[in-house]
Structures are given as C-alpha cells and as structure tokens.
Amino acid sequence: MKNRLCQLLLVAVLAALCVALVACGESSDSPTGVGSAPVVNVAPPEEIAEISIDVIDPYLTATITLGNWPPDTAPEHELALFEGFRQIMNAQFPNVTVVPAFFSYTLSSYLPMARGGTAPTLFQPPFTDPQLLIQQGLVADVTDALAEFGLLEKFSPSYIDLLGDENGRIFGLPRDGYVLGMHINIDLFREAGLMTEDGLPMVPRTLQEMAEKGRIIREETGRAGLVFPASETFGGWLFTNIAWNFGATGEYALQRQEEDGRWVANFTSPPMIEAMYFMRSLRWEYDILNADATTTNWAGTHNILGTGMAAMNLAANDSVAEPTAGRGLPVDSFALIPFPAGPGGSYALTGGTAFMFSPDTTHDEAVASLHFLNLIGVLPFVTDDTIAAQRAGAAAARDRGVPVLPGIPAWNDEGFIAMQRAVADEFSNVDMRLYDDFFNSFVDGSITLRGEEPVFTQQMYRDLTAAIQRIITRENADVLTALQQAEERFQEFLDDEINR
C-alpha cells in the first residue's frame, strides 16, 4: 500500500515538473515549431537602425538557411542582433526568406545532411576541411556569385588554393582568421600574488615561465596552472605549436615531402623529443595541468578557465567570448597574451574559418547568402551600411560582456581593416594593456605566424594526442617510444592515403 502511494506521489511530482516545463515553453510568444527562431526578449542594439532599409533587389527570390546563426543557447544580445539583421534583410530583399539554422560544423554531422539535402545553405568549416569537402563533392561551386559580387579579385592566391579546385572554380570564401595565444584568468594570478604594481598580471613570456608560474598558482590557489585539452585532436593541435617553439620547423618539421613526392612524418627529431619532455614535466614535475586533461575537450577548457578552475589556457583570439560571456568570467578578469616562446623559436599557429555552401545551393541562393554576409558586415566592403553593421555587432558584444577586440581579417583590404579597427576602438570595453602584446606580436614580428602542417593534419593531431595521453597518464612512459609510435601510426596513415 505504502509503495503504491510513494509511486503515485513520485509520478505526480514528475508529471507536474513536466507540465510546468511544457507550459513554460509554450507561454513564450515565439512560435514553438521546429526550426523556429528561439525566444528573443532583448532589443537589437540601436546602431543597427543606421542600416538602410531601402529595397535593394525586389526580384531576387530565394530561401536561405543560415548555419552561421548564433546557437539557440547564445546570449540574447547576440540573438537579438541577428533577429535585427533578419528584419533588415526582409526589407532589402522582400522575396528572400532567411531561415535561422545554427549549425556547429563537424564533418560527421555535415556529411549525412549534405547527402540527404538537409544541410544549411551556408555553413562554416575550419580551414582544414574545404579541400576534403571539395574533392568529395559536398559543397556548391559559387564562383559566379562571387564574381558578381566583385569578390573574386579580392581573393589572395592562398585562399584560391584553399577554397578552389584544380579548374579554378571557387567553393567558398574566408570568414576570419585566428592566431593561437593564451587566455588568462586574472583572478587566479591575483590570488597567487602574481601581479605587477600597475595591477597587471605577471603573465608568462616563455614556456618555461608558464611552467613556473603555473606551479606558483597551483601552490597558492590549489587550482590548475594550465588547462590542457589532451583529447581527440585538440592535444596534438596545441602541442604542434609548442613543438615549433622548441624548434620543430625547417629541417625538423613534423611533415615533409621527399623529392619523389612521398610524405614523411618526423616526430622523433631532437626538438620534438625536447617538447614532449617539456609536456611530461608539466604533468610530473610542475604538476600544473588540470586533472581531467585526457577527457577535456575544447569546450571543456573554456568551462574550466571561465569558472576559475585553471589560470591559463592555450587558445585563440576568436574564442574570447567563450570563457567570458559564455562562462561568466567578467571581462576585467580576462586577458589574451601571445603564445609563450620556446628555446627554438616563437611561433603562433594561425588558421581560420571559411563560409561554404551546401551542394544543392542555387546561384540565387548563393547571391542572397552573400547579400546577407555583406549586411552583417563580414565582406570587405566599406559603406555606411557595413560600418553600421560592424558597430551593431560590436555593441551587441559589449552588451553581453565579450571583450570587444579588433578581428584578424581574412581579407587583405586596408580600408576594411582600418574600419574594423576604428569600430573596435569605439566600443572597447577592455584595458587594452591586457591585449596589446597579443595584437602587436605578429605585427612587430616578435612572433612568427605559421599555418597548419600541410597534409591530414587532423589525423596527425589525433596521433600526437595519443602520445601526449600516454606521457601524462603514465609517469614511467618513455617519451621516445611514445613519439615513435605516433610517428609510425601517422606514417602508416600517410602511406595508405597519399603515398600509394
């Protein structure tokens, strides 16, 4: 009898919970249908009103699903901004329907959607993937639309290589670039007593300093000095940059092509071994890594830095929103510094994100998508409207607590770059002393920018991650053996895939 009563009670409680949730979902005035825009209760920034709402092309007819929409978990300010853009788009192009369709690109999720015809018209793969997508026929040729927009002449040759095929057809356009640096949680530096008299954190300049400062932070605060995502491909990605700074470039480069065209992996050069010993010391000597390193992914690093579980994170300028607005770290407690230098050099990995189009995209859809990109101010054109769009974007970022910083432009257009700079200055919400080093470092040459290794980079990162995992989970693991195994593994892969 008692059991039954308990059960009924539990069921009633759970049911009530559900009803409450469903009711909450429904009471909002947004349409709750699938794929609809999420609830937005915040007005878009007023700067957006400066964009002209005159009709530009009444005849262009297309329905575009935009994968570059902010995720529905995004802060309301960002969603409001895009909702504002959508309304302006409707006014400028009355026959273009914009469907928000946030899509966090991964190859495995994109593939079935592209094959099944459900991929968004526009999506954003990293620079590592366009060639694979082009070869597999998974993206649309947008050469004509780009030409119509006058964008083709603005393409630098390297982007034509990146986004085109051997026939000179182009399948996408660059969005922006990133440069790897280091995110800093200033609160932990303060707690550990690592502050200068000017109230700035005593951030590391070199990898050695990173280890030492990390140890002080561990001793003083009990938190991890460095959060390191030694999982999936992330560990190898960051380690590659560390290896460069130990000198794994030039003759010691991780990949090189022989004269007969054969690709060779070289993970056992002296600088690589030194770099891996350094990695080892971070865990077993300085003990500055987060405990969960081997299961921490990229998102995890931001969770950890943003909530003050670690003080340093090797991360890029394009993700400053993650630990701050995304994870609740106030902008005053955040800094971005250059990637620490090593004994063999001072490099920073650079890469970027592209815009590409689903395989069944029509010419009109591509043109409409480009119009939308121009509307939000990411194409290299300086007009009153694009300035207003950039200002609205900066205002939205400021309102939700993201450090407003100059971007790293994908287009080599001086006017456009100057405009971006000016807007960032106008809306700046940070103490630029915490960022200047980063942005100056690759202008004044104190850091050399370096693109990713040329072939099957993701696979290489995966194999290197496994070696790192071995080193940081087994105290007596042999560094050379771990690197040899990774090298063998990746060489097998290269032989299978391109050396046949």
Partner: protein, 292 residues
C-alpha cells in the same frame, strides 16, 4: 493450385517485413563484406583492393590495441556484468519485505537512455576534486583518484557503468529462474540435513549455471557492441586504452577520414570473432541455440 495461391499470398503478406529485414540487417551485413575489399571515396566504391584494407588495419597499432581491449572488455564484463546480476538476484531473492521495491529500483537504471547515463557518470568519475566520487572519497578521508585518465581503470569503469544500467534487468531473469525451482527440493534437502551452503551448491547453483550459460553468450554479444560508451566518456583514450572495435569503426567512417573500406574491414573482423565465439559456445554446450 489452391495451395499454390495460398503460398503466394502468404509470401506476399510477409514480403514487406522481409524487405525491411533485408534492407536494415541482411544486405548491410553482406555489403560490409563487399565494401571491406574496396577503396571508397565519399560513399562510392572506387577500386577493388583485395585484402589490402585488412592488411592495413592489422598493421595499425590502434586496431591491434582495440582488439586487445575487446578481450579486456570481455574479461571485465564477465567479472562485473556477469556476476553482479547473479548476486543481485540471490540477494533480492532472500528478502521478503520490500522485495518488490528492491526489484523495481534495481531495474530503474535500465530504462534511462544509455547516452544520458554515460554523461551523468562522467561527472561522477571526473578526476577533479569536484568529481562526485572524489567528493565522496574526500569525505571518507581518501585521496582523489584520476579515474578515466588512468589507463588501467578506464575499461573497468566503462564496464561498471554499463553494469549499473543493465544488471537490474538481467537479475530479473535470474530471479524468474530461481523462482521456478520446485520448493519441495529445498525442503527435501533440508530434511536430508543440507545446510544453507549445501543448498546453494546443489540446488541454487546448478539452476543459475543453466541460465547463466545462455545469458553468457548474450553478454558477449553486448560487449562487442561497445561503442558509444567510450565515445562519450573518453573518446577511446587515454592513449587508445578504451578503444573498442566498434568505436574504431565509427572513427574510420565518421571521425573525419570517411574511410568506409577500412571501417567495414573492422566490422567484418568483429563479426568473424563473434561468430567464432558463438560456434565455440554451441560446441561446448553441445546443443544448438534454439529460440523457437
């Protein structure tokens, strides 16, 4: 003539279902075999390459490791996944008051989605001091452990979580089996002077053994399906220590390389090992597995 028509109509009635079985189960299995002999691009077969996919995967350290791990998974899931349900069944069978509740509660984790369970337990086995098990260890005065980052612990932990989900359901099968034992057997044994331990040995034990040998093969089949568990918890790491054959297949196919040929080769090897187990099992058991 009438009979012929009858037969034709009967086949027609079964046809849609047979087509579905063919589409979802049988042809994919055959296609796996075929595809394993081909190089693929996108989802098309490009070139017949003979055994080279097999040679290539056997040459890869990650595959050899996954193969070895599969036996480690099997070992642990026999240790935990096989004996825990028996223990549950025996213990719950001894209770009188609250038995229904115990049974129901032991079964509850089984209805939770496996993915949700994995995410939930990943917070328990977090290596940070804020991981739930580390919190509990801390209260008990123990040092924190680093669980899923430890090469030797990661497979036992994954098997533990699977057991947590599945043990209650398996225990119910044993309980049903034990309930079927003729009560007079116990009484007769007691009259003969058999104590509790001897009853376990001569009555309960054999009953469990009979059931267990059938459930064993199901247990092994389940072990070979392990894929999303390490995918969600560890990605197969650290250093491939929890890589399973099916996860390797998933990685080859959907992890970025789109290498469906090698993925199929891994699948075929797995199927062959499984068939080997089944044949071995039926030889040992000297009886065919009859389900109908």
């Amino acid at each position: 003539m009438r009979k012929l028509k009858q037969n034709a109509i009967s086949w027609l009635i079964m046809l849609p279902s047979i087509a579905l079985f063919a589409f979802f189960l049988w042809t994919p299995l055959l296609q796996s075999v075929r595809m394993s002999f081909y190089r693929t691009r996108n989802i098309e077969l490009v070139e017949f390459v003979g055994l080279s996919n097999y040679i290539s995967i056997f040459g890869r350290q990650e595959f050899r490791q996954a193969l070895a791990n599969t036996f480690s998974y099997t070992f642990w899931s026999l240790l935990l996944g096989f004996f825990v349900p028996i223990l549950l069944a025996l213990v719950i069978g001894e209770t009188v008051r609250g038995r229904g509740i115990f049974r129901t509660i032991a079964y509850l984790p089984n209805i939770l989605p496996g993915l949700a369970a994995m995410i939930l337990w990943s917070a328990f086995f977090s290596a940070e001091d804020t991981g739930v098990i580390n919190i509990i260890l801390g209260h008990l005065g123990f040092e924190s452990r680093t669980f899923l980052t430890e090469v030797n612990l990661v497979i036992p932990i994954i098997v533990f979580i699977s057991t947590w989900r599945g043990a209650g359901a398996t225990a119910l099968i044993y309980m049903a089996g034990l309930a079927g034992i003729n009560p007079e057997l116990y009484e007769a044994a007691t009259i003969d002077g058999a104590g509790i331990w001897r009853r376990i040995r001569y009555i309960t034990g054999p009953a469990i053994f009979n059931l267990g040998s059938t459930l064993l093969i199901l247990q092994i089949i389940t072990v070979f399906q392990i894929m999303y568990e390490p995918l969600v918890l560890t990605g197969g790491g650290p250093d491939n220590a929890s890589m399973s054959l099916m996860l390797l297949m998933w990685n080859y196919a959907f992890g970025g390389a789109m290498d469906f040929g090698r993925a199929s080769a891994v699948a075929v090897v797995t199927a062959v090992i499984l068939l080997g187990f089944t044949v071995l099992y039926s030889i040992i058991n000297k009886r065919k597995i009859e389900w109908d």
